[in-house]
Subunit: 365 residues, 4 copies
């Protein structure tokens, strides 16, 4: 099981590798009647496109999406939507080096152990380009959620030790800054830090955050299909993510119950919470407050310093990686986080429709 | 979908609530021929049993397991193993209070929103007693993994700000200390802290850690079924867990690539890594190093201080919770983490068997 | 994967074997708010109970169901419903014979090949008693469907060459005749045939038929999750079923298009069909006409004549089976077919709720 | 859930409609290391290609497959294999007629009921062209099974009342005759019958049969994932199939136990059966004998006679269908049956690998 499908009712199946002919996704279970065109998807893909600034890889890819099925007269038909992006900028360089050894921090060794060999060109299936399918599918999920009044927004929270200041939060900056930070000052500081890292042939990590507003309460299931459990899987499945937090996350471990409990209160006739340490999820189900998810992302493993490793013959060697690599993964991964969150929430909303006898009887009366 | 099943080949389905007749689990897909008796399972259940010390709930439950199916002549037959634990200590007190309002930090409100009403006795399905099924199933997974030379070990890493010292690590203490800490000094300090919290009618959080040794490399799948993604789901699905980290986890976000990359090296003729920042997983597949997972657990939401909340009529009220509650969740949850980890790994090992044509042809030759 | 779960949203997991302590089922994903008591389930179990007439096995079992979870104040809570039936009439006879050889027509040999050994007492997991879990779960599905105005009714269509006459069809006879035939004359004739077969130490096969009325149109999915495909799986998974037909079934292969096509027409302002060769399913989705399914059931493999076979040592031997066996499977399997049909339809109805954007937006507005 | 995925470990996801840009399939979970090129797949697609004789539709399609991912240096990598066939011969005719009414025997009405509207061009997703994805994926499954010594072979057993004579069975004729019959005389007779039907503007049905040899015993799971249950679903999911039989199928319902039971015997030191009424499956698991499956296929619903129906405004009308249609579905569907069978068997073989503790321990020792 190569594990390339995600979701139960709204199910996506991605395919493709860095240096293959194309990458894509099949979105199955999309409700019929959603207006959808290539531009709806392209604008999400453009946010993860490489080559957009001096702090991302100089690899240039058009990443133009083609809708191959599932749309008729401008609307989804309920049948699978097949989306494809052709690879255009694979450099047919000599990969014999990479083929022979295991790059630290990469999946070279684990691929060989699992499958006996690997497509070593540009990381193959473990390349960041794999996320093209996630983003293309997520663009559809986001469009549906928007129509339902649910807004999913991810951004860069920190790069290295530089963190955004929530007092300066300006969501319009997310797609305007190089770093996807919603704080102009933090962005400026982070870009300087990144430029310095590039000079030192090093890479840096960071934290992405995603906030969901408008989510109705009671979505998600108790026990194994908890909303936070599925979000944790969705986000941890993004390459390079090493931690997932909900609400206060790790900080909750040092808190006291008296300060960590969110008191319920009435706000404009609605039940709400005075605080949101829980991050919008209680007992695995949404509680109507904003859902808050954070992901810690490791530094790009491809660095240009000399590194120790072993080759396939079991010899210890020194290597120096070449190529076109981002000094940080976070800014381009933010849209991936947004998309995986949207896909997870939409699927949970669909699954939830038969939770009550009343709803079922009303639906089919 | 109440979401009570977990796993693909080794699949468990749990059932039962705090004050129902019984709780249990059906374990489907267990290989045939494993020697198994009730004692194998009971010893795991005993580790999560309430009433074992002054820092856990005084509720007394025998939690005796009964094997109802799937075993013949002392061995698993390959058919579903049904395990049941009868509830014996439900106090038939008056629950009319709890029924009418929403306890902060609990799933009362979200259950009502999802299902229209709830079994309010002792938390119903969202009670910590739900984990009995997980532990009973996990005991089987652990026994299988042990036979394969894979050892899963979870313990308490910190309580509030008190953290274990790895130089004092003694795994025999995990089941001997009240806190499940493998460090006698930290345990002593933590117990004092907990006793103080109990006096203050407050509760505290903590961190659990799980280390897996002996796992072969190449297990897990690229993309959505990454081993770390499935572990994140498994662990985040345990009630009260708010963050899951793999290896360096959150710390990776502040690291540089040059220090975060683990260099490969040769050790006794085997490929290994000089460090293990990755926590034993690269590209979603095990890399042969110990797998390291951490979970941050929030403080028990049931505290005896007066709290603000709302009732079902939408009135803001003050409440004071009564009952028998743990001042901390972590010590009894450690075995749950161990079990969910074991179930996830075993399933991944089974799924992996057909990854290579060579293996498939060899198996069926 | 022992394969003991069925369904996606309304998911059942059965367990137990002929001579184990008990058999049961966990029903997960049942909507909250359905009034449910043990009697609702018991009346279905009573229809499959052994020992009810001279044409069924004389084994006497109370088959009393116990609800262990998922019900609160007389209603389903949305959490898993665990149902259990204790075995009470296992005769602790000497099974060493059966253990050593392979009964023709039984799963003895295939179990040994798959698992290396088997629980040989009374067929173990491949016993007809396995269907207790299906029926207990199906009783719940039937109750929900009834509330939706959908009626599922199965009966015996033929035994050997004796077929019911639709002009004499009286549904009240289904639970009144020994054969579950809705035709008193055919029943009488069939009983005589069966009594003769018993004398000859032989067994006979038959055909079950299931008719569903009130099913809305458009349920089921194109391609792999076609409603008829899932019904075929559900019904073929009942032990001893060797063929499944929808509508005209096998006869369609000899028909001409001009006679097999059902013309659409208007009936009381509704779109209907002049005929129903299709059996209520077009393109994998319900078309609003009655759904018609037929299952051909082989004769009971346990016969009391001398038979040739081999033993585990690979020697050819002659055997004579002893025990308590039905001379025909059909009359007691009719309720199993009804239940599997109900479970399949209910799951399809639940999955269908998010098929249209309009419905999704309306549901969550 | 549009339901376009099939399989658990070897999982396929198909997409595309009759008059869209392309059709295709993603094959996930294919073992790494299988030599695979486009020609391996093309030869299967050619068997279902239209326009090959006077008894199939004159629509001409090249149906050329393109491999988009998952192959490296001529071998499968274990990652998803994306296969695409561009549509080239859609006639951009006026479909306004078809759009407005419901063709008898087609899925027009049920699509509208489910999704609110439909892609009416050439049947959209319910077109026979949907099977391109199944065949492309099945070609891979067949290649793997061949390497394991398992041979899957489907053919036309009967057309109308004309049935093949097993004494004249010549498997080389399957791909040589217009009808896919392995009997030259029956083929000749059937072609004459078909030509007559075409003249009469009518269509005919038929029976496909599939025989699998070399399957090891013990594959498939008890209860719901029975091998025959999954085969029934796989085959019933092929459009126009109305009945699925295993072994003697419907005839078993009229048999006596004494004649229907297959006696075990020893053949060249191996356990075998003297007869094969069971069709190679006992208790849901393969028994080592040839697996025999039959499918009854209804006549093509598109006929050129005048037919009654209703339009979307609810008016009863007369229609006359135009276009390019096969007078019989069977000859081109035979390869689809072969492919769906292969996919089902391969998945079952993969799932089976962890059935025994011994195998698991041996695999990972």
């Amino acid at each position: 099981m190569a594990g390339s499908s995600f979701g139960t009712i709204f199910k996506i199946t991605t395919w493709g590798e860095s240096h293959g002919k194309a990458l894509g996704v099949v979105v199955d279970g999309c409700p019929a009647g959603l207006p959808l065109c290539e531009e709806d998807i392209q604008k999400y893909l453009n946010r993860r496109k490489p080559g957009q600034s001096n702090i991302t890889t100089p690899r240039k890819e058009a990443d133009e999406v083609e809708i191959l099925s599932g749309i008729f007269e401008g609307k989804t038909t309920g049948t699978p939507i097949s989306l494809m992006v052709r690879n255009t900028s694979q450099i047919s360089k000599d990969y014999s080096d990479i083929a022979s050894y295991y790059r630290p921090g990469h999946a070279d060794y684990t691929f060989d152990e699992k499958y006996g060999f690997r497509d070593y060109r540009g990381g193959g299936r473990s390349s960041g380009r794999e996320t093209i399918g996630r983003v293309a599918a997520g663009a559809i999920a986001c469009k549906i959620l928007e129509q339902m009044g649910i807004h999913v927004c991810a951004y860069t929270r920190s790069i290295g030790n530089i963190e955004i200041d929530y007092d300066k939060f300006d969501s319009s900056l997310i797609t305007a800054t190089k770093t996807a930070m919603p704080d102009a000052d933090a962005d400026k500081e982070a870009v300087a830090f990144l430029e310095d890292s590039i000079k030192k042939c090093d890479s840096v990590g960071g934290v992405m955050e995603c906030v969901v507003t408008g989510m109705p309460a009671g979505i998600g299931d108790p026990v194994f299909e908890k909303l936070d459990a599925n979000l944790a899987k969705a986000i941890m499945s993004i390459g390079a993510v090493k931690a997932v937090e909900i609400g206060d996350g790790c900080a909750a471990a040092k808190a006291l119950g008296s300060s960590n409990n969110d008191f319920f209160c009435m706000t404009e006739g609605q039940i709400g919470k005075k605080t949101n340490h829980a991050g919008g999820i209680l007992g695995g189900m949404s509680d109507g407050s904003p859902i808050i998810i954070r992901a810690s992302v490791k530094p790009t493993p491809s660095i240009f310093q000399t590194q120790d490793t072993v080759n396939k013959s079991g010899e210890e060697i020194e290597i120096q990686i070449k190529g076109r690599h981002d000094p940080i993964i976070v800014p381009r991964a933010v849209v991936v986080m947004e998309c995986m969150t949207a896909i997870t929430l939409l699927d949970a909303l669909m699954i939830n429709m038969s939770a009550k006898m009343d709803s079922l009887l009303e639906f089919y009366k």
